[in-house]
């Protein structure tokens, strides 16, 4: 589950937005959205796998909160590819040297 798929579902996105306002339990979220508790748990699971949400246990409750760095991948493509291309062009250069030596 990546960030984009994790946020593709409207309810899941709404749950995530709600969590940006503060920590909440599954129960809090179920009250807020017209969705069953298992459905909320499932959405939270997906958000957690996508790195967007973290959980903390306290007593018998689990509190969910947003993971601050979770949305990073949405905006860092250009940095990612800058590094990627420089790395790959160096490999291409090595290949060209090999082909020249043949």
């Amino acid at each position: 589950m990546d960030v984009f798929r994790a946020l593709a579902d409207p309810t899941r996105r709404a749950v995530f937005e709600q969590l940006t306002r503060g920590e909440a339990t599954v129960k809090d979220l179920t009250k807020r959205f017209a969705v069953s508790q298992p459905a909320i748990s499932q959405h939270l699971g997906a958000l957690r796998k996508g790195g967007l949400v973290a959980e903390r246990r306290e007593g018998k409750f689990t509190y969910y909160r947003v993971e601050p760095t979770g949305l990073r991948p949405l905006v860092n493509w250009i940095e990612h590819y800058q590094a990627f291309w420089l790395d790959r062009l160096a490999k291409l250069k090595a290949l060209m040297q090999e082909l020249e030596d043949e």
Partner: protein, 138 residues
């Protein structure tokens, strides 16, 4: 707003050899990624790599322009969702006077304003991903 990565890179060997390294699937795979490229306009192909972090390791491409030994353009869609990264890669080859090839790469179409990212991000988010308290969502 759209941004591009532009790189000029000097390589040994003539443009024809660089062209092979760009368009022969086996050679291309040895420095870039596994692929099924063909230098034919309209050909759809895919780069495949190991998933890395948030990236599923796949890139969907379509050849848009072919000028043998001079210019190759293909779309580059992928990353973690085809609607999020919809870019083009342009390779331009030019022989250098003293031998060798100047290869120019333009990877264009990076955008800040993909609707989902915008929807989810308040102002200032980009610079301070840690500062969630400052995030305001309308």
């Amino acid at each position: 707003m759209s941004k591009a990565i532009e790189v000029d890179y000097d390589l040994p060997g003539p443009p024809a050899t660089v062209w092979r390294a760009l368009t022969d699937p086996k050679l291309l795979a040895s420095w870039l990624m596994e692929n099924d490229i063909k230098a034919e306009v309209g050909h759809r192909f895919m780069f495949r790599s190991k998933p890395m972090g948030d990236w599923d390791g796949k890139v969907d491409c379509e050849v848009l322009e072919v000028v043998p030994n001079e210019r190759l353009v293909y779309s580059w869609r992928g990353g973690s969702g085809r609607h999020v990264l919809d870019t083009t890669v342009t390779w331009t080859l030019a022989a250098k006077p003293g031998g060798g090839t100047r290869l120019r790469l333009v990877h264009a179409g990076f955008t800040d304003d993909n609707p989902m990212a915008y929807e989810m991000m308040g102002r200032g988010w980009r610079d301070k991903t840690g500062a969630l308290a400052e995030l305001s969502l309308a």
